[in-house]
Amino acid sequence: MRPAGYLLFLALLPLVLNDFWLTLVATRALILGIIALSLTFLATYLGVVSFAQATLAGVAGYTIAYFGPNTVGVGFELPFLVSIPLALILSTITGGAIGLIARQSRGIYAIMITLAIGVAFFYFTRQNYALFNGWTGFSGIRAPEIAGVSLRDPAALYLLSLGTAALAMVLVAGFVRSPMGLSVQAVRDAPGRLLALGIPVTTPIVTAFAFSGFLAGSGGILNIWYQERISSFSVGLGPIIDILIVSVIGGLRHPSGAFVGAVVFVLLDTFAVDLIDRERFNTLIGAVLLLIVIVAPNGLQQLAKDGFGRLRQSNSNATE
């Protein structure tokens, strides 16, 4: 099976890559990809582009920070076996709630509402000290240890992220084939017909958003172990736009696009210093986004697929 082959290859990467490539490129791309997957999933199967995915990842991250070991003295410590499920439950519920708020909105309206929710959450974390420790946020967060090995260890975090990413892809594939997943796609294609058939559209929309909250939450947990801190800037417009850029670069037509986009984004982010002034990274990434939107609105994943398809076609034409 091809996916298993890829996975085995990726799982062996820690043997050949040094810590810089493994942690700063591969692990970072995987975590970013998981969070972007939550957006690509919504865009692909529900047809809604949500700007609240950084918020969902942030809810999980803040939960881990508040109920975990941190150095700012806010919150209290719970065992990881409690705080991890709690973080996932909270991000799932938040996802469902956002779906409930945005349920009657499609297209640009959904974008505006989710963006307003995301930015309102950013301002809220900045103002509130009791739960979010305001502007400064949480630092000194430690990942759990299993048998004396910290999950922050480069190889351990990489393998954990890889496993989570693979599991997330499997879950998405399973979800879209389930009866609920089919209803979600029906809402995307013909909400009016669904209502006429007597099938309520609210349940599929809320479920899809809740599932996307679960995906974003698992990425958010990995992200806080990777970063070892979280603050309002982790849920601000920067991360919101980064996630969107990753999804758009990869393409909003297939879940795997999220990881394609994440790899491209991380490589650009890491090596842009060599191309241009570090300070002007935003101009570069904005120009890349503009170029993708103008030239390849379906993203790199689709572009590559079309390219390969054409290549294959011309090959078979040649052999005929």
Binding site: V49, I101, A102, Q104, S105, G107, I108, I111, M112, I113, L115, A116, I117, V119, A120, Y123, F124, Q127, N128, Y129, A130, L237, I241, L244, V248, E279, R280, N282, T283, I285, G286, A287, L289, L290, V293, I294, P297
Partner: protein, 296 residues
């Protein structure tokens, strides 16, 4: 005479006046955003960047020439010009593909924000006020002091709102814009140069944003991040008030501006929640916004 009113009442009055000032600014910012959306169905995510550009240009002009009026005018014109370029150069080519336009305008706003940071730096700017507008007034009856510029701002918003209403309801261009909102295809079929009208409306929206930027820089201050603040407020204002309606923008701005100031004064750590709650309630009760028309 006011001693009987006590500190609570004075605080309440000051907070209300601050809320009205903020509402006037939000209205100026959101009216252009709403106008563009109403006609073209384009969510211009670069609107905040246009506003900040206007503010910076206005600052630089006032700094060199010393004329505040010239600063407001040139800030508005610079943003109008930038808006026209955005529509003619990028967004116009994707007319009808709303998601693509939204993403493209996000890309443009990222680039603009970064280039402005490069040119003007990360400093906070405040435009120097002309003699007539600096200083304050002791308001009659209410008995609280208030800065002239903030009163002027409210007058300016009122005049702008009326002028916009007049333009849309009473002029030929306004009739064409309203016709475009109702039925774009028919307008095109009748031979109206709709692409040029789109560019013009984008410039008008930019003009409003740019002037709002200079005024924001005079009454408050501007810095990197101001673009985001006004983009968010414009979004919430048009979601609450209704897309594409001048009256809706005014009502939305009033609600959001007051809620934000009351929140700040009476529940400092939960202020953002008020704005958010208003939006959620409106969406639950009237998804098209308070004065908006339902989507076909």
């Amino acid at each position: 005479m006011i001693t009987g009113m006590g500190g609570h009442m004075t605080l309440f009055l000051i907070v209300t006046l601050n809320g009205l000032t903020l509402a006037a600014l939000y209205f100026l910012a959101a009216s252009g955003f709403s106008l563009i959306f109403g006609l073209m169905r384009t969510v211009n995510m670069a609107h905040g960047a246009l506003l900040l550009l206007g503010g910076y240009v206005g600052y630089s002009v006032v700094d060199t020439t010393g004329s505040w009026a010239l600063g407001v005018l040139s800030g508005g014109l610079a943003a109008a010009f930038a808006g026209a370029i955005v529509q003619a150069g990028v967004l116009g080519w994707m007319q009808g593909d709303e998601l693509r336009q939204t993403l493209a305008s996000i890309a443009i706003s990222i680039i603009m924000a970064d280039l402005m940071l490069w040119y003007w730096g990360g400093l906070t700017y405040q435009v120097e006020l002309p003699e007539a507008l600096s200083g304050g007034q002791r308001l009659p009856v209410l008995g609280v002091g208030y800065a002239n510029i903030r009163l002027a701002l409210m007058v300016f918003a009122l005049v702008t709102g009326l002028a916009l209403w007049f333009l849309i309801q009473r002029t030929r261009l306004g009739a064409v814009i309203r016709a475009g909102v109702d039925d774009q295809d028919m307008l095109r079929a009748l031979g109206f140069p709709i692409n040029r009208i789109f560019i013009l409306v984008f410039a008008l929206g930019g003009l409003l944003a740019g002037m709002a930027g200079v005024i924001a820089a005079s009454a408050l201050s501007i810095a990197p991040g101001t673009d985001l603040q006004f983009l968010l407020s414009s979004l919430v204002v048009v979601i609450v008030g209704g897309m594409g309606s001048v009256g809706g923008a005014a009502l939305g701005a009033l609600l959001v501006g007051l809620a934000e100031q009351y929140g700040l004064a009476y529940a400092p750590t939960y202020g953002a929640v008020f704005t958010f709650a208003i939006m959620v309630v409106v969406l639950a009760v009237r998804p098209q916004g308070l004065l908006g028309r339902a989507e076909k």
